[in-house]
Each structure stands twice: as C-alpha cells, then as structure tokens.
C-alpha cells in the first residue's frame, strides 16, 4: 500500500510539484494503485491512510498476485441487463408459444370466420376427474341455436367426472354452453323459470334466492348448468322426497339431429322428453330449459348431525331419519376394516321457517382455490385413512343449528379446483345405487368387497333413494346410493371398478353415468335393461348417429 503523501513527496523531489490535497491528480494516482474505481477519494495527499483502513472494497493487486474483484457497478449493470433480457425473452416466448398454438389450431378456420361465428379451439378436454383427457374441439357460443348445428355434443361447466361431456374423436366438435345463460322468462306466481341451457345453479341462487326461490334439486356443486342438470337428470340430498330434476322440468327447447329446433314436453314428444333426462346429451342439444323453482320462506336451513359407529347403524339411521327430514345424506369412512368399518355421520336438514331464521340473507362467499396440481402421492391410502379418522372425530351428534345453504348443499364448492388435489393422474368417481335386498345387507356386501380389494376413498357418500324418475336412463331407484372417489392407480382402479360393478349387477342395481369413466360395456348392459329402449329412441331421432360422445363410444357401441 502506498500512501498518496509518499507519491506526492517523491514527485516533488523530482521537481514535479502541484500535487496536493486539492489537486485532481490525487484521484488519478489514487485510482491507479488499485482496480476498484469506486473508492477514489483518498482523503487527501497528506493522509497516511491505507486503502483497507479507508474502507476500500477490495485490496490492491500486488505484484505477488491477488484476486481481481469486478467493479460493483459493473456487476449491478450486468445483473439488471440479464434480468431484463430474461424477462423479455420469457414473456416473448410465452406469447409467441401461445400464438403458435392458436395459429396451428385455428388457421384452417380463420378464412370462414366473421365477427359472429365462433372459433372452435382445439384443446385438451376432460371431465372433473381428469380421467380420461382427450383432444377435441370446443366452441363457446352465446347463441346456441346457431352454434349447435355444427356440434356433435353440448357440454356445460364440465362437472361430470368421466367422459360424458367429451367428444368422441379429435375432429368432433363440442359446444360449450356456459356463455349462453340468459333468463328468458320468470313467473313469480308459479315459480316457473325459463332460461338458456347455460344458466348455472350458482346464478340461480344469486338471482332468485333473494326473491324467495330455490332450485327444487340441488347437486353437490353449484357449478352446473341447467342443460347439464337435465342431461344427467341430477338428484340431491332430497331425492327421496323431491325426486330428480326431471320431475320439475316442464319443457325443453332442443335441436335434434336432423337440424330441427323443437319445443319438447311430456305431452308433445314424451319419448324424446324422457330420453333426454339422463340421456347424457345423446338425444340432442338442449337450448332452453323450463323448470319450476321451489318457493322457500327462507334460504337458511335447520340442520342436525347424527354420528354412527358402524355401517349397520349408519344405514339404519339414514333410513329412519329420512322419514322426518327432507334433506338427508351420510358420509362414510370406508377405509377402516373390522369393527369400525362404515362408521360415519349423517347430515340432515330442512329449510327454516321465517321465524327461525336470520332475516339477513346468507352471503355467497368466494372460496379458496387449489392453485396447482398436487403430486400424485399426496392422496394415497395412508393419507386417506388419516383424513377419514380425523373427519370422523370432528363430527359429533349435534343439536339443531341454523346453517347457510352454501356449505350444506354445495360442500364441493368449498375449495375451488379441488380436483387438483388428486394431481395430474386424476381420479375416478364411482357411484352406484344398491336396491334393498331381502337380507338388508347389500350395502355391507359392497363395502366388504371394496375394503377387501384395498379401495380407499377420501370422500364416500351414502344416500337413501326413493322412487325412480321418469327419465329413461335416470339413475336413482329405491335403495342406497354409494358415491366414492378413487384415486387413479393404473391397473388397480380398473380391476376395482370391475369388481364393484359385479356386486352391483348381483344386487340388481346400476351405476350413475355422470360419474363413470371405467365401466365396461358388458357390465353396463348386464345392469341396465333400459338400455335397449334408450337406444331405440336415439335411433328414431338420430338415425345417422350424428350425436355422440366419448361415453357413447365406450359404452353404447357408437362408432368413433
């Protein structure tokens, strides 16, 4: 280290003067002795301070070598520059990748497009279980009547679990109805609502709840469209009292396969009307639905819970309590073997009278969302068992309490995108109805098979069902319905579903097509004597087989 004072004296001795504290030469000399240009002010020529003492960032390079430290300033600029480049490159890449995708998918149709025609985007489509995932073309349109002429199938919000709303092939076109959601007529005296098929149950709550009306049938999720509800002939916790939605549908406006748009009622076209309820969209495109809403004094509910420690008690309690409560369903832990098998709790409810309920309306709150797919190993038999045990102990017998309709009717909506919890592998939903057997043990036998084969379902729901609906393929029948989530394990899940279907066939029951992804066609034929009648009606209204879905190809023998 060379103090500047020495340099100044040495230069003065040579006759070169003028170097002092105030001359700018001090900076040049100072900076020339070390590579770090930031610390330039030495604090004067008379200073004896060394660079380290002055707080230099780096030591000087000595003749013996040292290490060069880059200017901090350079480092900062480099860093900013790299970030800037990386950022713009990433954004450009994402946008250009997006444009590439849309170019390949839509360029072929661009020429024919004008501002009113909608473009069908080629993309991956799946049901809620994300099993299977197929490629197909989906078009979202606000004017269903025009758009349905070009599509082989309609779909709503895609809450069916398997392949019911998926196209039969990658060239088939699916019409998504979610933007066609206008209310066409509502009569407050009778509660009859007529709306486009894309109106969702959630919107019906929001618009008609405050006016004292509710849908007569409420599914586990409110993110379903009227058209979808008709196609599945949905049921809810009150099926044993109110039946399926089809019982409350007055009329449909449909576009059938030959291109005609018809008003369809039980009087005008009974076979088409009944085949469409539960017909999985295979009889035609539903454009408008006319349904009778239920008048309720208050949107709030009075609810109670009963705990049961084993399956027999659970089934008995469910049956007996259903006689006194219009809304009843049970959640079951089917992961425990032996004595605790089939323990669970029964959820009961009825609409509150105005005097019992708060006058303020219930808030439809926004829910949390699962932001991304969880890895597949998270939902596994061991974690499911833990979940079930915790869930069971959380619920005890409770007295009457007032609850908001949203968590009571739509527990599935509590967490948005909850299907991501199962990861990319997806899951299979399985729902069947088991008629009451002479020995009263059909449900027990079902669960014995399930647990013997190691099937574990995090959420298993039991519902006692009442009389059949008038839909040709309507799902419920008197008996107990069992609904399971089965995380998908290659090979194992298919074998499990096969075995369960054999139990169902033996009991004389059937499965719910809206949930189905894995059933074999021969099993469906064995459990559904109504299939022949359904296919006959389809052939009458669609002799060329223009309307079809991935489900109809898998189960009904349609050509792909």
């Amino acid at each position: 280290m060379v103090p500047f004072g020495d340099v100044a004296s040495a230069l003065a001795a040579l006759g070169i003067g003028g170097f002092n504290d105030t001359s700018s030469m001090r900076l040049v000399v100072g900076s020339s002795t070390q590579p770090n240009a930031l610390n330039q002010d030495l604090g004067g020529t008379t200073s004896t301070s060394t660079w380290p003492a002055l707080g230099a960032i780096s030591n000087t390079l000595s003749a013996a070598g040292g290490f060069p430290v880059p200017e901090p300033g350079t480092g900062l600029l480099l860093g900013l520059g790299l970030c800037g480049l990386a950022g713009s490159r990433r954004r450009a890449r994402r946008w250009s990748a997006g444009r590439r995708r849309s170019r390949s998918g839509t360029l072929g149709r661009l020429r024919g497009r004008d501002e009113t025609a909608m473009v069908a985007m080629r993309r991956e489509l799946s049901g809620w279980g994300r099993l299977p995932v197929v490629e197909g073309r989906e078009e979202v349109a606000e004017e269903l009547e025009a758009a349905s002429a070009r599509a082989q199938l309609s779909r709503g919000l895609g809450r069916s679990y398997g392949d019911a709303s998926l196209p039969a092939s990658s060239t088939d076109r699916v019409l998504c109805t979610r933007r066609a959601d206008r209310i066409l007529h509502f009569d407050p005296a009778s509660g009859v609502l007529r709306a486009e098929a894309g109106l969702s149950l959630r919107d019906i709550h929001r618009i008609f709840g405050p006016r004292g009306f509710a849908s007569p049938v409420l599914t586990g999720t409110a993110y379903v469209t009227l058209g979808g509800m008709v196609a599945s002939d949905v049921h809810g916790k009150n099926q044993h009292v109110a039946g399926t939605l089809g019982a409350h549908v007055r009329a449909l406006r449909m576009r059938v396969a030959d291109g005609r748009a018809l008003e369809v009622t039980d009087e005008s076209e009974p076979d088409l009307f009944r085949a469409t309820q539960g017909g999985m969209g295979l009889t035609g495109h539903v454009l408008e639905v006319e349904v009778a809403l239920e008048r309720v004094e208050s949107p709030w509910l009075v609810a109670e819970t009963r705990r049961a420690d084993d399956l027999d008690t659970l089934v008995d309690t469910l049956q007996s309590e259903s006689r006194r409560w219009p809304h009843a369903a049970a959640w079951v832990d089917c992961t425990t073997r032996g004595r605790g098998m089939g323990r669970g709790y029964i959820s009961l409810g009825r609409y509150a009278a105005r005097s019992e309920a708060p006058s303020a309306p219930p808030r439809l709150r926004e829910r949390v969302a699962v932001p991304f797919d969880l890895p597949g190993w998270v939902v596994a038999p061991w974690s499911i068992r833990i979940f079930n045990t915790v869930f069971h102990h959380l619920h005890r017998n409770t007295g009457s309490r007032i609850v908001s309709p949203q968590p009571f009717f739509h527990p599935l909506d509590f967490v948005r995108h909850w299907n991501r919890l199962y990861g990319r592998r997806g899951f299979a939903q399985y729902q069947c109805v088991l008629p009451h057997s002479s020995d009263g043990r059909s449900v027990q036998r079902f669960f014995e098979v399930l647990t013997r084969l190691g099937g574990a379902s995090p959420v298993s729901v039991l519902k006692n069902c009442g009389p059949e609906g008038r839909g040709v393929l309507s799902f419920p029948m008197p008996g107990i319905s069992v609904a399971l989530d089965l995380p998908f394990r290659r090979g194992h899940t298919q074998a499990l579903v096969d075995a369960l279907n054999e139990v169902v066939i033996e009991s004389g029951g059937r499965i719910y097509l809206t949930k189905d992804a894995l059933t074999r066609p021969e099993h469906l034929r064995a459990m559904e004597p109504r299939l022949a009648r359904f296919q006959e009606i389809r052939r009458k209204w669609d002799p060329d087989g223009r309307l079809r879905s991935a489900l109809s190809v898998r189960l009904l023998g349609d050509a792909a």
Partner: protein
C-alpha cells in the same frame, strides 16, 4: 363485457336501453336484464357500427324510451388478428371504419345530445392495444389508439360543460371475442372488468384499465425502446 356490465347495472335497478345488430338476441337480452332487476321494460333498437346513417334513429329511440338518456356505453367493436387483417382488405376496411371513424361519429352525435341536456357520461371501450403499437395488433391497435386520443380530446374540451368521458382500456379479457386465442398472463374475466367499469362510470374516472395491473404493464411497454419492440414478438 358489455353483457356483464349491463347485468351489473340491472342488478341495481338501472333503466336500460339496448343497441345492437341482432334483434332476436337483443330481445332475449332485454328479457334477461328485466329478470335480473332492470327497471322494466328494457327496450332496444337496431344499431350497427357499420351503418352510421342509422345512428340518429337509434339515439332517438333511446331518448323516447328512457326520457332522454344520460349515459351511453359503447362496448361493441370488431376484432380480428393482424394476420387476418393483412390478408383481407374488405375486413380491414370494415374494422378500421367501425372501430374508429364510425364509433367517433356515434360519440359525436351522443355528445351533442348530452351537452344539450347539461351533461352526461360517455363510456367507450377502447383497449390497451391502443397504448403502444405491438406486432400482433398493429391495425386493431391503431384504430383503438385513434379512438383513445379522440376520447381524451373530448375530455379536455367538454369536461367543463358537464360531459364525462370514461375510456375503458381492457387488457386481454376472456370473452367470446377472444375465444380461440391463447390467454397471456394477467388475463381478466368479464365480470370483474364490469365491476371496475361500473365504479369508474359512477365516479367519472377518465381512464380505466381493467384488470388494473395492465396500467403498470402498459406504462412499461410504452417506455420500451424501439429496438426492443422491433425484436419482440408481443
């Protein structure tokens, strides 16, 4: 977005009158808005941005139905990608005329009426595409840029006389217009855009970006050097 905005206004009981091209669709939308709470009856009239000779009649019909309206919202526009417009001169002409010249004509006629009544609100949907020219939306953005400049001019010239202009600049919003395009980051949904726009109309904010992040995004994009814009593909 127009539909979402109309529904929000209906939910608070506003009196509405619809202008559009398809009478059948307008009739259904009118009934839908009545069912959702708009003051009955909601009527409509034919109005096409490519037919400027029909503007006066449409505005007259609105005046008759609403008893001299106090706000006009223009949410209609043509959209096409840059490739489509470069390839098709007729479409290009239609888009440029409808989105800029004729929209300005409609606004001028409305402005005159509103000023004669002592004031009112003119809310027009422009776009962030008008803030800075970008490769994928050169033509569409140019028309929107002109429209934004006109609306800003109106604000400068007539605000003191009671005319409030609200220029809505949506970023990419998932609507039927953009169906078929891959959504970039910060894509919005029509209902939240509608909520923001309604608040801006009530308050008289001159410019609204929806979703709000686009204000920051475009501020950055406006400052990017030309060399970068030439090389970028956004």
């Amino acid at each position: 977005m127009g539909r979402a905005l109309a529904r929000r206004m209906a939910a608070r009981g506003d009196r509405l009158f619809l202008l559009g091209r398809d009478s059948e669709a307008l009739a259904r939308s009118a009934r839908d808005l009545e069912a959702r709470g708009a003051a009955a009856p909601v009527s409509w009239a034919h109005c096409d941005l490519l037919e400027p000779e029909g503007f006066e009649d449409a505005l007259d019909a609105a005046d008759r139905a609403l008893g001299d309206f106090d706000a006009l919202i223009v949410s209609a526009a043509l959209f096409a990608t840059q490739e489509e417009l470069e390839a098709d001169p007729k479409r290009r002409a239609a888009l440029l005329v409808a989105n800029f010249a004729n929209t300005v004509q409609l606004c001028e006629l409305t402005r005159a009426r509103l000023l004669a009544r002592g004031g009112g609100t003119l809310c027009v949907f422009s776009s962030v595409a008008g803030d800075r020219a970008r490769k994928p939306v050169v033509l569409y953005g140019a028309a929107k840029a002109g429209l934004s400049a006109y609306l800003e001019g109106l604000d400068h010239r007539f605000r003191s006389q009671g005319l409030r202009t609200v220029t809505v600049k949506p970023g990419f919003v998932r609507t039927s217009m953009t169906e078929g395009l891959a959504a970039p980051p910060f894509a919005g949904d029509p209902d939240s855009v509608a909520a923001r726009v309604l608040r801006a109309i009530d308050r008289g904010d001159p410019v609204v970006y929806a979703p709000p992040i686009w204000r920051a995004v475009m501020a950055l994009v406006k400052r990017l050097p030309r060399a970068l814009m030439r090389r970028a593909s956004f």
